[in-house]
Structure formats: structure tokens, C-alpha cells
């Protein structure tokens, strides 16, 4: 008898859902509303979706963060407090289903931050200023473009926009259109033979000047960068090709294939590029390849793990992170590994732990980060991270350490206060 009571108690403890479940959905069928005929005058139309009165929006974001850490040379930790402000505002107007104008601007403190990055997997990398100048920026343009849809066939966007191509979440060498975020361009997108096709012409003197001293900036068509992309889906595969051409930078071509297998998203991407000077080849073809896996684990609306692993092998050698195309192929001696993971196990505490590890097999340098983000309080995002930068002084991730004090082991604490207004 006592065992029966014990079992009953145990059953109640382990199966609360079964014992104390709320009213079942069956009650909905006791007296349901009758089936009806839809009102033919109440339809979702393209006009109702696209026509919108002019909309204004603004976003305010204030950050305070504190870093402490150790360099190789100094046994005592060095402490650094920072703060940053970002004020963004803009307007969006859709006159009819064919035309739209959009602009967003920002002012930041310190002046060199663009205030747009918020990498939860890597709470450290986006925090640190590389320039000690403490001044507000001028009003800068984040995005400004005009859209026009030509006969429901071709979508055209003219202006500046943040645009990302390429498949890698960690290593993304195929983002040929990143320059557009700092310049202006014309993009036309349509479908052809079942493929999504985009053509982009970019004008960005500042970005292209960075590549090489030999570029002579002229107001001619040869200062334009051109990109094109075609993507499509067949059976269980999605694939695409894209290319880039600039007469003084070089040619780039890319192809990728993506699929899913047993819940894993898999992709492979191959890239080949060649330096040009005055439209003539000035170096050897440089190959690069990226392979990646992405996986979510756990049922329901909150997976307990989101993980990604990518590896990149390149003949770029030491210049693999630079935008410029090297003239000499170094062989397949540059192998990098990137792992990122975020867990939803602590969602009930509004806390999200994450880990990120980047490693170069070529020079044995790397960056390992553990971070926590907490959003218990409205409008406040609290982040804590531990960062370890390792490897030789000339290693990629050591020379790329964004900390101006070159600390190797860092504790990072950050608080962000933010809110958005739309009208």
C-alpha cells in the first residue's frame, strides 16, 4: 500500500503535464463558429502591402564596457573602460508598388565605430576600438537607396546598401559585394530559366583605392566593379555561381552547392581569383575553398544547441584575410578552422552562452572566446566574455587582435542600453 502511494507521488512529480493538464482543445468543438464564405472584397493585395505612408524611425544605443587582461610582457593586468553611443535615424517611403525610397543615417561616439555590429558569438571582437580618437562622428549614411520594379519582372535598386553574398557564416571570402556598403551601386535582380539572377555595378573609390597603390582613380567606367550571381534549386540541392570583375583589382569566380542531410546543413564553396592591373593578368590564379556544417539540436521552438563548423583552405597564404588579391599562389598551405556554438539551455534565465574558436593551422595562432549574454532587464543586454588570443607574434589572429594593448587573455564586460522608435 505504501508503495502504491509512493508510486503515485512519483508519477505526479515526473508527469505533471499528464496529471494537471489544462482544458483540452476538444472544448473548441462543442460550439464552434460555423464555416463561412470568405469576403471577396477583403483581399490581401500587392498594393496594400507595398503602399505605405512615409515612415520615420530612430534607434538609440548606449554601451559601456570594461576590459581587463594580460599581455605576454606584463605580469599585471591592464584595465580599460570604454563607452560608446550610437544614434540611428531614417525614413522609408513606398509611393506605390513600384517605387520606394529608403535612407538611414547614424552618428556615433567614438567617431570610428559604425554601430551596426552585434556579434553574439563573438562578444569581444566587435567591442574594441582600434583608434583612441574620442570624438563624435559626422552624420554618416548607413544606407540610402531608391527601388524601382520594372513591370513586375525586374527589381532595381540604386544607391548604397549593406549587402552580403557568399555562404560562409564564419569564413566568407565570396562576399564580392561588401564594397557596396561603403559606396554606391546599381543592382538589378530578376529570374531567368528558374534561376535568381543579380547583376551589380559598384562605384566605390575609397574601397578600391585601399587595394593597391597602382590604382588611378578616374571618373571613367573602368573604375566600376561588376558582380553577377545566379542561384537555383534542384531536387535536394541549392547551388549558384557568382563573379566579380574590376579592371585594377582582378577577377573572382565562385561556385557553391548546399544541401541538408539528416538535419545537417552542408555546403561547399570554391573560389578562384586572379589579380589584374590595367585589365591584364598580373599574377597566378589563386584558389580558395570553404566547407561548412550547420546544425540545430533539440525539438520545439528553442533548440538547445546551434552549432557551426567551417574550414577554409586557401593558396592566398598569409594574405588570406586581406581584400587585395596576391600575385603568387602559395599552394594549399593555409588551412583555417572556425567553430561557433550558441546554446538555448539557459533561455529560462534569459541567458545565452556561446563559444567561438578560430584557428589557423598555418601559423598555429587562434582566438578562443566564451561569452554569456543576458537580457533579464528590458532594453538592457549584458554580456560577459573570456577571450584567449594565442600563437606567435606574427600569427594571423595575433596580428589581427583588435585590442590596441595587445592583451592575450582578456575578461570583457559590456552593458548595452537600446530602444527603437517607429512612427
Amino acid at each position: 500500500m505504501k508503495y502504491s502511494a509512493l508510486f503515485a507521488l512519483l508519477f505526479c512529480l515526473v508527469c505533471p503535464a499528464a496529471v494537471f493538464a489544462e482544458n483540452s482543445v476538444d472544448e473548441l468543438f462543442e460550439d464552434p463558429a460555423p464555416d463561412t464564405v470568405a469576403d471577396p472584397d477583403s483581399k490581401l493585395t500587392q498594393d496594400s502591402l507595398t503602399k505605405e505612408n512615409i515612415r520615420f524611425f530612430e534607434s538609440v544605443r548606449a554601451e559601456g564596457y570594461f576590459l581587463t587582461g594580460w599581455t605576454r610582457e606584463h605580469p599585471k593586468p591592464k584595465h580599460s573602460p570604454y563607452n560608446a553611443l550610437n544614434f540611428s535615424f531614417g525614413t522609408d517611403a513606398r509611393l506605390d508598388k513600384n517605387i520606394r525610397a529608403y535612407a538611414s543615417f547614424f552618428i556615433t561616439y567614438p567617431s570610428f565605430r559604425d554601430g551596426t555590429s552585434d556579434n553574439i558569438t563573438n562578444p569581444y571582437q566587435d567591442l574594441l576600438p582600434t583608434d583612441p580618437t574620442l570624438s563624435f562622428s559626422n552624420v554618416d549614411v548607413k544606407e540610402m537607396f531608391l527601388d524601382y520594379t520594372l513591370g513586375d519582372l525586374v527589381f532595381i535598386r540604386v544607391g548604397r546598401e549593406a549587402l552580403t553574398w557568399g555562404q560562409g557564416r564564419i569564413f566568407n571570402p565570396a562576399n564580392f559585394v561588401g564594397a557596396l556598403a561603403k559606396g554606391i551601386g546599381l543592382k538589378a535582380t530578376t529570374t531567368f530559366l528558374g534561376l535568381d539572377v543579380s547583376l551589380v555595378a559598384m562605384k566605390n573609390d575609397g574601397y578600391f583605392k585601399l587595394e593597391t597603390d597602382s590604382i588611378v582613380d578616374k571618373a571613367g567606367i573602368d573604375t566600376l566593379g561588376w558582380s553577377a550571381k545566379a542561384e537555383g534549386s534542384w531536387l535536394f540541392f541549392t547551388g549558384g555561381v557568382s563573379g566579380f570583375h574590376h579592371p585594377n583589382l582582378g577577377d573572382k569566380g565562385e561556385g557553391y552547392l548546399k544541401t541538408s542531410l539528416a538535419g545537417f546543413d552542408l555546403f561547399g564553396e570554391a573560389l578562384i581569383e586572379r589579380k589584374l592591373v590595367d585589365s591584364k593578368p598580373a599574377g597566378a590564379p589563386i584558389p580558395t575553398a570553404v566547407f561548412g556544417v550547420y546544425r540545430e539540436l533539440g525539438p520545439g521552438s528553442n533548440p538547445w544547441l546551434q552549432a557551426q563548423v567551417e574550414t577554409m583552405v586557401s593558396a592566398r597564404g598569409e594574405s588570406s584575410a586581406a581584400r587585395s588579391i596576391p600575385e603568387v599562389a602559395r599552394g594549399w598551405d593555409s588551412l583555417s578552422l572556425g567553430i561557433g556554438a550558441t546554446s538555448g539551455l539557459l533561455n529560462f534565465l534569459k541567458t545565452k552562452p556561446s563559444v567561438s574558436w578560430l584557428h589557423s593551422f598555418q601559423d598555429r595562432s587562434g582566438q578562443l572566446i566564451f561569452g554569456f549574454s543576458n537580457t533579464t532587464f528590458p532594453h538592457i543586454d549584458l554580456t560577459a566574455g573570456v577571450v584567449w588570443v594565442y600563437g606567435p607574434e606574427d600569427g594571423r589572429y595575433v596580428t589581427g587582435n583588435p585590442d590596441p594593448l595587445n592583451r592575450r587573455l582578456i575578461l570583457s564586460f559590456r552593458a548595452i542600453f537600446a530602444f527603437d522608435i517607429n512612427s
Binding site: 503535464a17 468543438f29 464552434p32 502591402l49 527601388d147 535536394f236 548546399k258 520545439g300 521552438s301
Partner: protein, 253 residues
């Protein structure tokens, strides 16, 4: 001998006949909510009720071209999510993030906007190609007289390996229960009322109850729920551009 042959034929062919009949039944159920001759669009409000964090509402525009196995879901509200989009062409799903202006392709994001709904809840019904009927019985569901079909998946691309549906005489699914392979009830869906659009039907509202997730409050287990309300259904033809990446870019905030 002829009798024996006929008996043997009957015994051997009856499972095939039953399977063919089952497929025909499921096809009829699919046809009631599938638009093969026209495009389909509607506005859908998804209210997610999580006992631990309250209610959140998402408004989404749904565009379907069932004959080409295409759909596009465009988030219209709240502002923080506005412009996010899902474009499915065949077996491949594109996600569009308007803040990064980037497309990604994935199979892992089959849940819609962190709710208990799945993207497949907004698209054409494919019971006949995904499941076979394992057993049949009749049941009274409130005021409805229904036939209950226990279904088993015939391939592993479906979200739920087993499902049970309550179907009224007009071939409309009024209730469904989705099970794991081990037979655990994962979620229950109720569709008490439909609205007729052309010659087909669209739910007026759908209630999805997550049988695993929730929170115990004052001794009562409160399930996570998702309420879906469908308004403004239309069968008007849609431009081809709607089912492209360009459309998501155009509509992005």
C-alpha cells in the same frame, strides 16, 4: 482451382487495394485545402502564448503557388521582425535577413518565427504523398461526426512520423495530433471553422498546443500555444516576381 486463384489474388492484392484507397482518401483531404489552379495569398496573425514569457504576435503575408510547390512568407509585424522572409522553392528553403540583407539556405529553420507552428502549416497539404493510413475509426468530436485516421509517414522528410487526424464528411481536417516515432504526443492542432475561398477551404483560425512545452502554475501545467488567424484570403493571380529573392529584397525593411 479458379476459386483458389481468386482467393489468392484477393489476399495478395487487398493490401495494395487498401493502400490505393487510403491514398485516394488522403488526396481528397489534400484537395480541399490545395490551390492547384490558382495562386493563393492571405494575411495570417500568429499569436504565440508562452506561459513563462506571455504572448507575442506576428503578422505574416502568405503567398502560395501550389502547382509549382512554391511559397513565400513575409513578416509584416512586429517592426523588429518586419521584412524577414521565407521563400521555398521545391525542397529548398531560403531565409532572408533584412538587417544583413543576406539570404541563407537551410533546412533547420522549419519552425516559423520561434513559434509552435511550422512553415509547413502555412503551405499546401501533402498528406497523400507523405503518409499512409494505418487504421480508421469513427469518433464524435464535439458537434462534429468525424472519421479518425491514424497516419504513418512513408518517408523521413516529414516533421512528424505519426499523426492522427479527425476528418468531417466534407473532407476537412478538424483536429490533428502529431506523434514522435515512439508514440509520444508532441502537439495537438484544432481547426474548428473554415472559410470557403473559391471551391476550396482555408481555416479561419488554428490552435496549436505544444504538448511538451509549458510551465506549471499553481499546480496546473500550462502548455505553450500558438493561435493562427487567417484573414484576407485571395485567389487572384500573383506576379512571378513574388516567388523570387528579388521580392524579399523589395519588401524588406
Amino acid at each position: 482451382m479458379k476459386v483458389l486463384g481468386a482467393l489468392l489474388f484477393f489476399v495478395l492484392s487487398s493490401p495494395l487495394v487498401f493502400a490505393a484507397e487510403g491514398t485516394a482518401i488522403l488526396k481528397k483531404i489534400d484537395e480541399q485545402v490545395t490551390f492547384l489552379e490558382t495562386d493563393y495569398s492571405a494575411q495570417v496573425v500568429v499569436v504565440q502564448d508562452k506561459p513563462e514569457s506571455g504572448k507575442t504576435s506576428t503578422t505574416v503575408a502568405v503567398f502560395r503557388r501550389d502547382r509549382e510547390t512554391k511559397y513565400l512568407l513575409l513578416v509584416m509585424a512586429p517592426d523588429s521582425e518586419k521584412g524577414k522572409g521565407y521563400l521555398k522553392v521545391g525542397n529548398n528553403l531560403w531565409l532572408y535577413d533584412p538587417s544583413a540583407r543576406r539570404f541563407t539556405v537551410t533546412s533547420a529553420k522549419d519552425r516559423f518565427q520561434n513559434s509552435n507552428a511550422r512553415n509547413s502549416d502555412f503551405t499546401r497539404s501533402t498528406l497523400a504523398t507523405d503518409y499512409k493510413i494505418a487504421s480508421t475509426r469513427t469518433d464524435k468530436l464535439g458537434k462534429f461526426q468525424t472519421t479518425v485516421y491514424d497516419l504513418e509517414a512513408i518517408h523521413d522528410e516529414v516533421a512528424f512520423p505519426k499523426t492522427r487526424i479527425w476528418v468531417t464528411e466534407d473532407n476537412l481536417v478538424r483536429k490533428s495530433e502529431d506523434y514522435s516515432l515512439s508514440g509520444q504526443l508532441l502537439r495537438t492542432t484544432a481547426i474548428p471553422s473554415y472559410q470557403k475561398v473559391g471551391t476550396r477551404y482555408v481555416p479561419i483560425s488554428v490552435l496549436i498546443v505544444d504538448e511538451l512545452r509549458g510551465k506549471t502554475v499553481n499546480g496546473v501545467f500550462l502548455h505553450e500555444k500558438t493561435q493562427i488567424t487567417v484573414t484576407k484570403p485571395s485567389l487572384d493571380p500573383l506576379p512571378d516576381l513574388v516567388f523570387t529573392q528579388a521580392y524579399l529584397e523589395k519588401m524588406g525593411r
